[in-house]
């Protein structure tokens, strides 16, 4: 069957435990996910939603696997736009692997159709979210804040 997939990888200088917290803690998420956050008990079988800053549920689904701080699999269906919702369930897998002083974060998002409007829609957002998350964990501040930076934070200590 045709399938659409994207894979994003970031090496983040942190610990798997801190990264897991950043991926599952609502308050932490708001700081790098443009005001969005996920709600879930983060155990296999529990419900999962991605909620915007004004309380709208954009995506909903279920936690299929949760193995902290290593692996998280989410059944993910868009809710807001009818044409994306009609595509049905997608699968989002997050894997955390320690590599030396950093943690390799791999995010794989797959849906059993090609082309997929959902995959097109989410794949534009993920690099910004991941890059923001990396910056927040490594430097203590996100580069792009929500809604947008009120002041420009100097990016010291970069390359």
């Amino acid at each position: 069957m045709a399938r659409s997939t994207f894979v994003y990888v970031a090496y983040i200088r942190t610990t798997p435990e801190k990264l897991w917290l950043a991926l599952t803690d609502g308050e932490f998420m708001r700081a790098y996910w443009f005001g969005m956050h996920c709600e879930s008990r983060w155990t296999a079988g529990s419900a999962w939603t991605l909620v915007s800053g004004d309380g709208q549920v954009y995506d909903a689904g279920e936690i299929l696997e949760a193995d902290p701080p290593r692996r998280l699999v989410i059944r993910w269906q868009h809710q807001n736009k009818p044409e994306l919702k009609a595509e049905g369930d997608s699968l989002c897998t997050m894997e955390l692997e320690p590599t030396g002083t950093a943690v390799k974060l791999s995010i794989t998002h797959t849906i059993e159709r090609d082309p997929s409007k959902l995959i097109m829609a989410v794949s534009g957002g993920w690099p910004k979210v991941i890059s923001n998350l990396k910056s927040l964990l490594e430097t203590g501040s996100a580069v792009l804040q929500e809604p947008y930076p009120k002041e420009s934070a100097p990016r010291e200590g970069r390359g």
């Binding site: 997939t5 894979v7 994003y8 990888v9 791999s106 580069v143 947008y148 009120k150 990016r155 390359g159």
Partner: protein, 111 residues
């Protein structure tokens, strides 16, 4: 930080080769390709393509996923996003700030 410098060097070295940029273009057009599929589009040995892909993977511009016996290659745009944030994002801030101010005004609590 030294490690960042290292990452950045790897990134720009990986980008500084036309064959490697072509590989990224091919993956941008269609992600999730095998080595064989990529070899069809490049006039070089399989070993040559493998070496280029290794360099792209070391720079984190390509991510690979094993599916059965196959190894699939994906364009990973995260390092390019970091370049954008480092040198481009700030020039967009005045425009974005204007939008943010507008949003705040419009969304002022009622009453």
């Amino acid at each position: 930080m030294a490690e960042h410098l290292h990452d950045t060097d790897l990134l720009f070295k990986a980008l500084a080769d036309p064959s490697r940029r072509k590989l990224l273009d091919l993956l941008y057009a269609h992600d999730g390709r095998t080595l064989n599929e990529l070899c069809e589009h490049l006039d070089m040995t399989r070993q040559g393509v493998t070496q280029h892909l290794d360099q792209l993977e070391a720079a984190n511009l390509v991510a690979t996923v094993r599916r059965g016996r196959e190894k699939l290659h994906f364009l990973n745009p995260v390092p390019l996003q970091e370049i954008y944030e480092r040198w481009i994002a700030k020039f967009e801030k005045p425009r974005l700030k204007a939008l943010a101010d507008l949003k705040r005004r419009l969304e002022k609590p009622h009453g």
